[in-house]
Symmetry: C2
């Protein structure tokens, strides 16, 4: 694809709107792909969006709402005339419509549902958490009975003409709607026309329950290379399916969340530049404040050793070096462990192996850093005793940081807390106070102060 | 899916192998899905792997090699008898086979290619970098001519019986093999049987060149909800396609890489527990050492202000608090920016907007932290002047850290360096030295020392 410039499109669209050329404006938008339409659309002013959306082809309007950020879409729908809103939402994929309704006020959502053509496709989806299989699934699935032949199944698909591109699997169910097997569209096409679905279907279907977390769905789909994952109830009845395009979004969002947490801030719920400055402030201020209070402890440790500091001022020079290195070693460990836990490379059963891994790495890094710190202290003109103090301290601090950095994410997982809260800043702050304590204790022993 | 326990399967497999019951062992493995087969297989000893792999069904062996870590697979292949290796590799998907050959020694790879049934399917893939569209693509694509009817196309698919599940798109090419359009298998099934492909195909196909980076492919496929992305040469000739299951892996791997970098370490190339301790040591020691050297600067700043420190020892108590908070604010900013750059939420054109965003957030956070630091200093019994020094310093340091935290990732991107190298540890270390300089300068002015 030639990467064309959306900015030019926006300029043309704006000038059409300024001329009140609605037909021209809709023509410009309708020539684009849904993701591009939504991007361009988000750049327009509220009143322009409200004017333009009902003028577009219904399926284009539905695509735009699906692709916009959840909150932006809800705000736009709240501004539309009720009938216009309902007819667009009717055209949306049921799972996307349910997400949108969930972001409206309960009264608005109820009004939309009451006016929809087929509210029963959407209503059951409303009860599920957004980040569960139930919240992610679409209820538009191809489900057929096992006695049907491949020819009949293809015939049914032809008559039904499913709109969604996401039809790659045909689910086979019994008379009670219980999931029995799966046939890919490819298998259906290449099967002998008279073969019954039960003869060609794969019986060992991987399925999830409505409550399954979206990360677990993503893990299953990526591990087993699935394009769609059926969702069933306790009795095994087919309720819907999660499709791979939703999972791609989940993977990107979950990684973003982890990276924000690892940076020591609450994750965002909108793209960066759309987040108002005040919201970002709130997402960061809490952690920054909490860490400030914890870091006060480090100051208290220093005050506790005031006498030693006055006797040997040179001890001070090494403080940033020691606590900095400890924080860095801890951050290296914790980010590795958090990612390994998130991708499922390790789980709680591997806790001891991971600790043993990190302990050995910590010992090796500790020895290396101790040697370098010893040399550095001497070149700074420190006494042999001080150099020994510094190098022993850095050894102990690095080993301690690696231990904490591996233990804390595992402990958090055990306590069902997102391990990513053990962020780099949290690690550095924790290691600062404890690291200084280690340092001055060793200094007391060696320097006899 | 009942989450069954792979450990039990491993125990049964081991006991079959101990009884020399090869048939039993292969039966156990062949009942599993490829990803599980590969997991179990990786737990076996080398000699067990070498015995078992050639006994399995060829397509199972091929699946296992595809799902194993690249290096493990290459090591295993190198140990197999040449004929056994060739017949398994012949069964692999061309893109996976090419990756595997790339990890063998050139002599081994050449020997395998010479003995393969269809080396020309694999050979062209060898020249592309693993992380480009060319390295990721499979050359097994359905390509048909535009005058063909839907019925004929379905007929051709039935005869060809493509093995891969990944057949959801049919690419339409002209006589020179130039990509003209795309038809989904769903469209083909529901189209009137006599419709020509050129009548039903989508003409505006998104395609990439062989050299396109895998992150760009992932971005396109997730943005436009594509299941396969055609790869073409300069003349537009269809060479292959990248499928969504590869892109799911790319997304996971790229996020892992960024998180490792953000933690201040070189990314791993194998799962965590498979990485030897010495390799992890090497991946971390470099950064830790570099940061240690930089952190020495912080010590030098302290030495430079030795006189002030001796006059007002209480200045020392606030050192960890100030540089810690600066490092935390910088890490919050840098992780946000790095992720926004990675997901394409912002690009270089948005640099000024992002800087302005962070500047305002920095001012707000700075004021908040200054107020709290002022109160904290007084409760620690500091003089008014010292409290003022500390709170002015923390304000300046937070604003400075936010500025650096947004500027550096953007600068790195501009210089075509992965912005994730501006990790939390790098930010903390940079802010430590500069932060202390700010602190002592303000102290000199206010305390007149």
């Amino acid at each position: 694809m030639e990467s064309f410039n959306l900015d030019n499109v926006l300029v043309r669209l704006r000038s059409a709107l300024e001329r009140d050329d609605i037909a021209g404006a809709t023509a410009i938008l309708e020539g684009l792909r849904p993701a591009d339409q939504a991007d361009i659309f988000s750049e327009l002013e509220d009143h322009e969006q409200v004017t333009l959306l009902p003028e577009l082809d219904l399926s284009d309007s539905a695509d735009i709402l699906e692709k916009m950020d959840d909150q932006d879409a809800a705000e736009l729908v709240a501004m539309l005339a009720p009938e216009a809103a309902v007819s667009i939402i009717d055209k949306m994929e049921p799972d996307e419509a349910a997400d949108l309704l969930g972001d409206l006020s309960p009264a608005q959502a109820e009004a939309v549902l009451a006016a929809m053509d087929d509210p029963e496709e959407v209503r059951p989806l409303l009860v599920h958490a957004d980040d569960s299989a139930g919240g992610l699934m679409t209820s538009e699935v191809l489900a057929m009975r096992c006695k049907m032949t491949a020819r009949e199944a293809l015939q049914t698909i032809r008559q039904w003409k499913p709109e969604a591109e996401e039809v790659y699997y045909l689910f086979v169910v019994d008379r009670n709607g219980v999931l029995n097997g799966v046939v890919s569209l490819r298998q259906l096409v290449i099967a002998p026309p008279d073969a019954r679905l039960e003869e060609i279907m794969e019986r060992e279907v991987i399925s999830v329950r409505t409550g399954t977390d979206q990360e677990e769905c993503a893990r299953l789909m990526s591990r087993y290379d699935l394009l769609a994952l059926p969702v069933v109830d306790a009795a095994g009845k087919l309720l819907g399916m999660v499709t791979v395009d939703d999972i791609v979004d989940v993977l990107v969002d979950e990684a973003t969340e982890d990276i924000h947490r690892l940076g020591g801030a609450q994750p965002f719920d909108r793209p960066y530049l759309d987040m108002p400055v005040l919201s970002i402030f709130r997402k960061r201020a809490g952690w920054l404040l909490l860490l400030f209070v914890t870091e006060s402890l480090t100051g208290s440790v220093l005050r506790h050793f005031e006498e030693e500091l006055q006797t040997v001022v040179a001890l001070t020079f090494f403080v940033p070096l020691l606590i900095g290195t400890g924080g860095n070693a801890g951050t290296q460990t914790t980010s590795t462990l958090i990612r390994a836990l998130a991708t499922g490379e390790i789980d709680l059963q591997d806790a001891l192996r991971a600790l043993w891994h990190e302990l050995r790495i910590g010992l090796m890094l500790g020895v290396a850093m101790a040697a370098i710190a010893y040399a550095r202290s001497l070149t700074w003109g420190s006494s042999q005793a001080l150099a020994l103090t510094v190098s022993l301290s850095i050894f102990a601090i690095v080993v301690w940081a690696n231990g904490m950095g591996s233990l804390l994410p595992i402990l958090a997982t055990r306590l069902k807390i997102d391990p990513a809260v053990v962020s780099g800043p949290v690690m550095s702050t924790l290691v600062d106070a404890t690291g200084l304590f280690i340092y001055f204790t060793i200094a007391r022993l060696i320097l006899r102060i």
